[in-house]
Amino acid sequence: MSTRDVGLTESRSSGGTGFAGAGAGAVIEAIRKTVLVDFTPEEAFDLFTARIASWWPVRTHSYGGENVKDLVLEPRVGGRFYEVTAEGEQDWGTVLAWEPPTRLLLDWQIGEASGTEVEVTFSPEGPGSRVVLEHRGFSAVDPRDRYESGWDLVLAPFVGTASKKS
């Protein structure tokens, strides 16, 4: 499956070439991003998960925007990924794999629910770490037909802000 190909390319730009084939069943190429940080994998994993609220662009990329008080990623398989506002909690996704400090796999349950998943891997590189994020499963078929465990999209949180920007 092409989305599982390994090879550290920087993000391939989308520009309309990101999908192979047409019509229902077309699979769009995964998004792949690499970032190097001056952290050990343990520290990087911790920053990415336990302290996700400290860096996630929550004001522009959440349901609640400025009203979001916290963003929580529960540290276990099956754990919830959710935002907290005065009104309550809003689920974003579920932890499908929890393998500190090397791998995290999430599914989005937000918004459009087309079942994408995000995998983040952490590996030592020089004095720091290489963090690779892959967001995959953009497809015209219901990914629940293709993946054992589905991961839904984080779209709705982006809805309001995306429209505000336009």
Binding site: G16, F19, K33
Partner: protein
């Protein structure tokens, strides 16, 4: 960015997402879609128009019926949106790490 804003707005509505999800499993007519969601046929048509305007679905004529299906280019638009989103998010992640190191 505005294109993606339209895409995301189009999917911001629960009924529209249900319709879009149904289409991801294969092409459907308005009547078939109306049987799957708890809204009237005219309402389904209206939602389809929004999805079509956002570039998420395409339609074709099949005799007297009109058949709707997912437009893969629309999904490419969603992908493009996230491509840019992850640049921003990971940029902030790396900046947070840098700040702690300093």
């Amino acid at each position: 960015m505005s294109t993606n804003g339209i895409v995301l707005d189009a999917l911001g509505d629960w009924t529209r997402r249900q319709i879009f999800d149904a289409l991801k499993n294969g092409p459907h007519s308005v009547g078939e879609l109306a049987a799957r969601v708890p809204v009237s046929r005219p309402a389904v048509s209206q939602h389809l128009r929004v999805l079509k305007d956002a570039g998420l679905v395409v339609d074709r004529k099949d005799g007297a019926r009109r058949i709707y299906s997912v437009d893969p280019n629309g999904l490419a638009g969603i992908r493009a949106y996230f491509d840019s989103f992850w640049d921003e998010a990971l940029g902030r992640f790396a900046a947070a790490a840098r700040e702690e190191r300093e």
